[in-house]
Amino acid sequence: MTIEVKNIVKKFGSFAALDNVDLKVGKGELLALLGPSGSGKTTLLRIIAGLDWPDAGEVTIDGEDALGHGASERHVGFVFQHYALFRHMTVFENVAFGLRVQPRAVRKDEATIRARVKELLDLVQLDWLANRYPSQLSGGQRQRIALARALAIEPRILLLDEPFGALDAKVRKELRQWLRSLHSEIHVTSIFVTHDQEEALEVANRVVVMDKGRIEQIGTPGDVYDNPATAFVHGFIGESIVLPVEVAGGAVHLGGRPLNIAAEGVAAGASKLFVRRHDMQIGPAGTGSLEGAVRHVRSFGPIQRAEVALTDGEGKTVIEIDAPRDRELQAGEIIGLQPRRYRIFAAQE
């Protein structure tokens, strides 16, 4: 099922939670809305679900206007960050809820409901918990029950609000993989909200990066990581070294000294140079257009992370770089640095 969002505006008082947002979601996609808190991602999700209403704009689900219908008529599965399981019902009754509240004309008989609930509990691999209460489950189990409950109504689309946000790191990782394989099994068009870039890049087919109520970039995980469209995306996704530079006459200057890199069409003026930590070429002192003193080295896994104080006149700029283990770095060593891959964005006011 497809979802289309057009020119959505939502204000809370004078604060614009969503500022003219457009989004198209294709059939069977698993889309991530990624952004820092306050970027409007949850508001957008709630508007699609019918739990919030926009001040202006359109939402269509499968080409059909959604804003004319309340949440209970939209047939949208919603999974909450804090699960929102009905605490006074057993797991079984929680999952059965959506089937039991259907209008009498379409409601299934008890045997069909039981069979369907059993099937869903099997799907989330928790059939053995059917008679427990939510308070007796772990966080990961609760979230899987919440998902089974949302799927019970055979939703046209599935919306997940920070589905793993309240879980600890290890469970989160497991559930991520589980969600991805579940999606490839049932293929329902899904959107999930997260502030965790790793989660978004690992699970989603496409990632929508949001900031301050606007969409900054839409693309595949590879796209948003390798070709960030804006300074915000570059800074938000992956670790970046950010240096304030000056563009003049097609050349890039740092602290008055020219760097041996091209301005890539960025207009003259104050700009920002973004380099991934692992995209800094390390050489002996005197090579490269930057120079710095290694202050501190930590080694873990395949990399060593070094804190380098740049000799940029004042020596106050400290950056962190990742170097492969085969080039041993020593504290106190002076090294030359050259950005291998980089992006320059005009500085925003």
Binding site: A49, G50, L51, G70, A71, S72, E73, R74, H75, V76, G77, F78, F80, H82, Y83, A84, L85, F86, R87, H88, F97, G98, V101, Q102, S135, S138, G139, G140, A146, R149, A150, A152, I153, A166, L167, D168, V171
Partner: protein, 324 residues
């Protein structure tokens, strides 16, 4: 108890009082992490006091309670039965007594059921929605607690009395409110209004709106959501509020006294009859009625304790820190 800290009302201070009494006499098994911490702190503090001081403090508390609470209660029952059980039963079988009991039950039934509905609606509005004037509404709900009951009764005299705003119109249409059941019920409703709302607001605020949102997104209608999700979640808090509301409705004296008119056998509730009989030196009859009210109080206390346990259980935090 933690959820009620934002409000200090008779209902909450009663609970707080009950909690401290528990701690002083027989510490109950701690139920929540918070309770455990508080409990541990309290018992540690107690142990840090030298023995004699501890003894004096406990003795003081116990003797104070005995003199001001237990003794009066004993006196009520002793006086009621002073002429034997026959006289006691005879006093209760008097037509005036029976009429007072009936009237009290009727007024309590009316005011409790109406306040149940009003209280749930008010608590729902305050806990689940944001709207301008919300703070004002919360203050307004507390008004009956802060106004003297006599004034509360007087308000209805000013509204419905012969010289009141609507007095002439009511008289012209032969509608009796003052010195009749409607007036007594109105005054009681006014005085007991806060109990249900107050016991529900903190509970509903804590529970938030997510379960309701989940129900709606699963296709439930508003009514289905209320009866299948909201009501089961607040039932213990609701019963707690109803219990306190009922106790106050049956025991209310001041406001009812002003609007009742004291027509014997017609508009006297139990508390009013107790006073009348006492003033007429009918001590056995007076204390017999009083003993009924005292028993109501004792039953209320027991049920309240049970409900408080249920409430604490219903407030298990949603986010279990031991997620795995």
């Amino acid at each position: 108890m933690s959820t009620q800290t934002s409000f200090v009302t008779p209902a909450t201070s009663l609970r707080a009082y009950a909690a401290t009494a528990d701690l002083a006499m027989a510490p109950p098994a701690p139920r929540t992490a918070g309770d455990r911490a508080r409990h541990a702190a309290a018992s540690k503090d107690l142990r840090s006091e030298p023995g004699p001081i501890r003894f004096i403090i406990i003795a003081l508390a116990v003797s104070f309670l005995t003199i001001f609470v237990v003794l009066p209660l004993v006196v009520v029952f002793a006086s009621a039965f002073s002429k034997g059980i026959g006289a006691y039963l005879a006093a209760l079988a008097e037509p005036e007594a029976l009429s007072a009991i009936k009237l009290t039950l009727l007024v309590a039934a009316i005011s409790v059921s109406l306040n149940l509905v009003f209280g749930v609606v008010a608590a729902w509005a305050i806990a689940k929605f944001d709207f301008p004037g919300k703070t004002f509404l919360i203050t307004l709900i507390d008004l009956p607690f802060s106004v003297s009951p006599v004034i509360s009764g007087l308000v209805f005299v000013l509204l419905f009395g012969a010289q009141g705003y609507w007095g002439a119109w009511l008289q012209a249409n032969d509608i009796h409110i003052l010195f009749a059941v409607p007036g007594i019920a109105l005054a009681t409703i006014f005085v007991t209004f806060p109990f249900v709302a107050r016991s529900l607001i903190p509970l509903m605020q804590e529970q938030g709106t997510q379960e309701e949102e989940a129900a709606i997104s699963l296709g439930a209608s508003g009514l289905q959501t209320f009866f299948r999700v909201t009501l089961p979640n607040i039932k213990w808090g609701l019963l707690y509020g109803v219990l306190l509301c009922n106790a106050r409705a049956m025991g209310e004296f001041g406001a009812v006294s002003v609007v009742s008119g004291h027509i014997r056998g017609e508009t006297n509730t139990m508390p009013l009859l107790v006073e009348i009989l006492y003033n007429e030196y009918q001590f056995v009859a007076s204390f017999a009625i009083a003993s009924l009210l005292a028993m109501l109080a004792l039953i209320t206390l027991v049920v309240k304790t049970v409900l408080e346990q249920r409430l604490d259980e219903a407030q298990i935090p949603k986010d279990d820190p031991s997620d795995h």
